[in-house]
Symmetry: C2
Subunit: 224 residues, 2 copies
């Protein structure tokens, strides 16, 4: 005989952080938000990019997030997308990504990578104030996905798809892309070993590295 409420597990603290964690602190939730921050997704697409997550869990999470207004259904079709509340999580997710990327070493054998996670990394790393006057666009072809970064006098924006007139375009695989972001591989070392190729202006590659904060880093093997 079951009486009353199922007793939600809340912190019951009158504090912003605790209230936020009550909503997005459960396992998988912020990863769902990550996926949707990069554009609308359907149920099975989410499942495919969140390996290890059970189908029931995903359904549960989506239902809760929808009730809270973090996630919305698309009008047409079966897609999910972020509501305004969910969009407000971008700053938090990017901050955590930036922090967590420093903990990534070399990829383990059983680790999964997705090209669009690189787009998230680019958003987290890009800081146009490093070259305040710059106006140009860079294209990234990572495995079978293409996206681009536009820098415009101190502001940056990213989008999926090819760029109209990129100053340069790099091509690489998802793992190499994240390794560069994690600092375990230098961009120029990746170029030298052929793991990454580019077309366009070589100087633009350097400027792009600067905007992403990759240029001033010490190499992975400083002289001992």
């Amino acid at each position: 005989m079951r009486t009353g409420t199922p007793k939600e597990r809340n912190y019951r603290q009158y504090c912003g952080l605790a209230a936020g964690l009550d909503v997005i602190g459960e396992r998988w939730t912020l990863l769902i938000v990550r996926e949707l921050l990069l554009g609308p997704r359907r149920y099975n697409e989410l499942l495919a990019d969140l390996p290890g997550m059970g189908t029931n869990l995903l359904a549960d999470r989506l239902k809760k997030l929808r009730e809270l207004g973090v996630v919305e259904r698309e009008e047409a079709g079966h897609g999910y997308r972020l509501g305004p509340l969910g969009e407000g999580l971008r700053e938090s997710v990017l901050a955590l990504s930036k922090w967590g990327v420093g903990l990534l070493g070399e990829p383990q054998a059983d680790m999964v990578t997705r090209p669009h996670w690189g787009l998230l990394a680019v958003q987290a790393m890009a800081d146009a104030s490093r070259l305040p006057e710059l106006v140009e666009t860079y294209e990234f072809q990572v495995d079978d996905e293409t996206f681009h970064l536009t820098v415009d006098r101190g502001t940056v924006s990213t989008a999926r798809g090819p760029a109209a007139d990129p100053a340069m375009s790099v091509r690489t695989d998802a793992t190499t892309f994240v390794r560069i972001g994690a600092g375990v591989l230098g961009p120029f070392e990746a170029l030298a070993t052929g793991k990454l190729t580019f077309t366009g202006d070589q100087e633009a590659v350097l400027r792009c590295s600067t905007v992403l904060g990759l240029a001033e880093r010490p190499g992975p093997r400083p002289a001992a």
Copy 2:
């Protein structure tokens, strides 16, 4: 018969966010970080400000965080404090606080509040670029704790303890303080009802509200 590894629950994704969540994504962990972001704490102090958390869980979390370098022991005494890695979480924690504070309605009867959580809220809300030329200090006396906010030409800093020469000093209780931060109570409404008192320059109260983003907000009860 227990064989092999206890099988850590990791996402196994080569992605910064996932790697970050593998470290601080478990229940309670980010709340421990919140406490330590406001200064070193001892075991029983942490326990007291994290009601509902079991003593074994706190020990577990602290051990893991220590192994990873997020948390360190103090040289003298029994305190815990953040290591450089943990300090790097400040931005993420403030971003999440800022997001979560919007979800806080009025406090429920069984909710706990602590004065120093207000200091976190102040850090999250303060944006000195709202008054770029301003240079002054405000003091907050919340229940039995005192802290202050210093604004200096576009930058802000906070610290525990009383201020040397504050432009104004407010006194209130922790719940009222967080209610104001959550936007369910306007600062001037709090003044009017006596839930909050101040000494010092009345204009400074207004400037402080502006820096904290409280001034331009719509009142809690707009004309219907």
